[in-house]
């Protein structure tokens, strides 16, 4: 009977052996991403910066260039106009202005003229934005600490450190991507980063679980070989799950419409990055953190007796 095998059975990749290169590579990528985020910054959407978004259907085919100048001249800061779908459909974004919101909206509506259908109008004050950022950072930080504690209790403290290191790697790349390609960083981008994080931690824990199991089973095996064995044993599952999740996100990207697509793209990257980090960052990193193997001795350890 036909069966799809992404990874053939019984692979013996020496992943830990290449870990020096991979970890160096990952470190360089992290440094590059973080310096982009620090020096170039993120392309904050109006969710964070404050400003106005209009999604409109014009009654005629507009000249975007003219319209941009026209809206620019009313003095509400920088104007960005985007066409999507039909030529009459426009997405107009304006930066925060000092004027009152009602006045600003009225000015824009006057300038666009009559006959325009307003599909979506958003205004955000800049204060709300900065609160959103600080709340999100706080929530994510606490979530990371909680997961670190959980892994530390269930495995060993070193495992927790490695998992969180992999997570930070993922987050750095996601944020770096937003900065390098300048994708708009909005409220949903935080959700995308969170999804990536939860996928990645899930992936890492599965591999760690196998490493723990093998630590108990093969007490004499070299740590390097043991980690390699565990990675190879789980490789089929790792790729399969990444594939199904990617398929789901891909259909979001293709069919989900404009808003969801902008959300699906970073998640796609996130799943790839999260899978990479589970295999090439989290697990090889264990080599350098001095795991106490006697803790996994069945006769000494309480946790081992649960199995």
């Amino acid at each position: 009977m036909f069966r799809l095998h992404l990874i053939p059975y019984g692979t013996k990749f020496d992943i830990v052996g290449k870990s020096k290169y991979m970890l160096t590579f990952a470190a360089i990528v992290i440094v590059v991403c973080l310096s982009f985020v620090t020096f170039k910054g993120l392309n904050y959407g109006i969710d964070f910066k404050g400003g106005y978004i209009f999604e409109v259907k014009m009654p005629y085919e507009p000249n975007v260039q003219e319209l941009r100048e026209q809206l620019g001249s009313i003095g509400l800061g920088e104007v960005a106009i985007q066409q999507f779908g039909a030529k009459e459909d426009l997405l107009i974004k304006l930066e925060k202005s000092e004027e009152g919101q009602a006045i600003a909206i009225q000015k824009i509506k006057d300038s666009l003229g009559s006959g325009v259908t307003y599909k979506r109008v958003e205004t955000v004050g800049s204060k709300v934005g900065s609160e959103l950022v600080s709340n999100a950072i706080k929530a994510v930080a606490f979530a990371l600490v909680a997961m670190l504690l959980y892994i530390a209790v269930r495995f060993e403290f070193q495992f927790g450190i490695c998992a969180i290191a992999a997570l930070l790697h993922d987050c750095a790349i996601i944020f770096g991507m937003f900065s390098i390609f300048p994708l708009e960083f909005s409220e949903t981008s935080i959700t995308a980063a969170l999804l990536t994080a939860s996928y990645s931690i899930n992936d890492t824990v599965v591999i760690f679980d196998r490493i723990r199991e093998n630590l108990r089973r093969f007490r004499k095996m070299e740590l390097k070989d043991l980690i390699n064995l565990s990675l190879n044993e789980t490789l089929s599952r790792t790729t399969l799950t990444a594939a199904t999740t990617l398929l789901a996100v891909l259909s979001l990207y293709i069919f989900g419409g404009k808003v969801i697509a902008s959300f699906a793209l970073p998640i796609m990257v996130g799943i790839l990055v999260g899978t990479f980090s589970s295999i090439f960052v989290a697990s090889p990193l264990l080599m350098f953190l001095n795991i106490k193997r006697e803790n996994f001795d069945k006769n000494k350890n309480k946790i081992a007796n649960i199995v």
Partner: protein
């Protein structure tokens, strides 16, 4: 052998059936929905970006009210200090960093304790520090906290009343954080009108009622010609449902609600009937109500709010102590409502709009359609992939994947959670991630079979071995999402709910549903070889 008890199989199928039943109303079209029995007519709450409408976030300017309160304390203190012949250089509300304090500089330091007494008598919730001739006073933290709570609560009441009056259906008005209020108005595309309404600081006013003109009762729907007289206007008072009485009111404002400090439902000790006690502030209000009541003794006067007469009682006595009772033929409820209206008549603090989003219904409908398509497509792709990878076993997990989605919908419906656009994306993603547990188990079974174990035993072993891994990885996610929910806000919370639900449900479908199906299938197959 993989053994699943009969009870477990039975309860699993019952739960899945319940899930299907409660998910159904959200998935069928309007026509079928109307035919469903009443207990099933609950659908998933759609977020505003999906159903169309407006979302407004307001900030209550508590600082300005706090300052006003401090100013009134200073005014009163100034008077009392003069009365007691305590001489001072300065008495004022001072801005310091981000807060304001009451500052008094006395001529003689001997007066300090007396001045302190005066201050704490005016407002007992003051923290007063004396330093020689200088006195600093701030309103205590705990009082401020209660103070802002009360003000935000009152603001919400006023907002609700005004929005209800505007005829907007199903508004959601929520407190957010310390000083924020979120107003959600489904179906309102242009919130400009509502914002105008919320911007007004409606003021309660007291007017005399003209004695030469008569009140005119009007039934609902009937036309009415109101007589006119200079200086007099007819304003409507809704007495009972369907009956409005137009009361002739003198245009001149005798007293404003600003002087009203409290209004409470009460019981008239003489008649035992519900009434409303009102209390005016100690300085201006008391004096004015005394004047007003002696002028209109045994005559009618009216309380007017937003162009409507709230109540038009008769003064029975001269009111000297700043408090009064409004009696009439109130029911308990009416009296409570009136008290609330009087209390909440004018906005206690200015409101600033800090965020506003509105979505037209067509865009919302498009988003729902897109989300549906994406979800269906994700389901089909993942199903194909699973069947290609694991054959029959892949098909089993497709069944449980389907139940997974249905249960997720059912849980969202029953919990009253709101489905947002990222929420739909979350569901589609759950589809991708939910099969993970099955993949883990199947891979494990394959490993066991390769070790040469008999297939039926390998299945049981695979389940046993994968269990630990699945629990660890899912619990990590669960711990993370609970913390996110606890500390996050808005969209992060919504995401955390979907994620946590998805995790728990996928645990259930893996260990109950897929396992039951496989066990039942195995029993039929007896001991034949199994290819996975």
């Amino acid at each position: 052998m993989l053994v699943v008890s009969k009870f477990r199989v039975f309860s699993t199928f019952v739960i899945c059936l319940l899930g299907l039943t409660f998910a159904l109303p959200s998935l069928v079209n309007q026509k079928t929905y109307n035919k469903l029995p009443g207990f099933l007519q609950h659908t998933v709450n759609l977020g505003l970006e999906l159903r169309g409408g407006s979302h407004i976030q307001l900030e209550v300017d508590i600082k300005s009210v706090e300052k006003e309160h401090q100013e009134s304390i200073v005014d009163e203190a100034r008077k009392q200090l003069r009365k007691q012949n305590i001489r001072y250089n300065k008495i004022m509300v001072q801005q310091k960093d981000n807060s304001s304090i009451i500052f008094i500089s006395l001529k003689n330091s001997e007066d300090a304790s007396e001045a302190q007494k005066i201050l704490s008598k005016i407002e007992k919730e003051l923290e007063i520090t004396v330093n020689g001739t200088e006195i600093n006073a701030v309103i205590s933290e705990s009082f401020l906290e209660n103070f802002s709570k009360r003000i935000v609560g009152e603001s919400i009441e006023v907002i609700r009343r005004r929005i209800d009056e505007s005829g907007t259906k199903e508004p959601t008005i929520l407190r957010q954080g310390i000083d924020r209020i979120i107003v959600q108005l489904p179906g309102v595309e242009d919130p400009a009108e509502i914002k105008k309404l919320l911007g007004k600081t409606a003021l309660l006013t007291f007017h005399g009622v003209d004695e030469e003109m008569e009140s005119i009762p009007v039934r609902e729907g009937a036309k009415v010609n109101l007589p006119s007289k200079p200086g007099v206007m007819y304003l409507p008072e809704e007495r009972t449902k369907g009956l409005t009485v137009y009361v002739p009111i003198k245009k001149q404002i005798s007293l404003t609600g600003k002087s009203l400090v409290d209004a409470q439902m009460n019981v008239d000790p003489q008649t035992g009937m519900p009434c409303v006690s009102i209390k005016f502030d100690s300085i201006e209000g008391t004096r004015k109500i005394a004047e007003l009541s002696s002028k209109y003794l045994h005559k009618q006067f009216a309380m007017v709010l937003d162009g409507k007469v709230l109540s038009a009682p008769v003064f029975q006595a001269v009111l000297n102590n700043g408090s009064a009772q409004i009696t009439g033929t109130f029911t308990m409820e009416e009296a409570t409502d009136l008290a609330l209206l009087l209390r909440a008549g004018s906005l206690p603090a200015p409101l600033n709009v800090v965020e506003e989003r509105s979505v037209g219904p067509s865009l919302g409908a498009d988003s729902i359609a897109d989300g549906k398509n994406a979800t269906i497509f994700a389901f089909v792709l993942v199903s194909l992939f699973m069947i290609l990878s694991y054959g029959k076993f892949g098909a089993f997990s497709v069944v449980s994947l389907f139940c997974n989605i249905m249960l997720l919908f059912a849980c969202l419906t029953l919990l009253g959670a709101t489905l947002t656009l990222p929420g739909i994306a979350g569901i589609a993603l759950t589809i991708g991630m939910a099969v993970d547990s099955n993949v883990l188990i199947y891979e494990r079974i394959r490993e066991e079979i390769r070790l040469g174990i008999k297939s039926s035993l390998a299945i049981a072993q695979g389940y046993k071995m994968a269990m630990m891994t699945i629990i660890d990885s899912n619990l990590t996610t669960l711990v993370g999402s609970i913390v996110l929910y606890e500390f996050g806000s808005g969209p992060i919370r919504g995401f955390a709910v979907t994620l946590a639900l998805g995790t728990v449900i996928s645990l259930f479908t893996t260990f109950s549903l897929t396992k039951s199906i496989i066990a039942l299938w195995l029993r039929k197959r007896q001991n034949k070889e199994i290819i996975i």
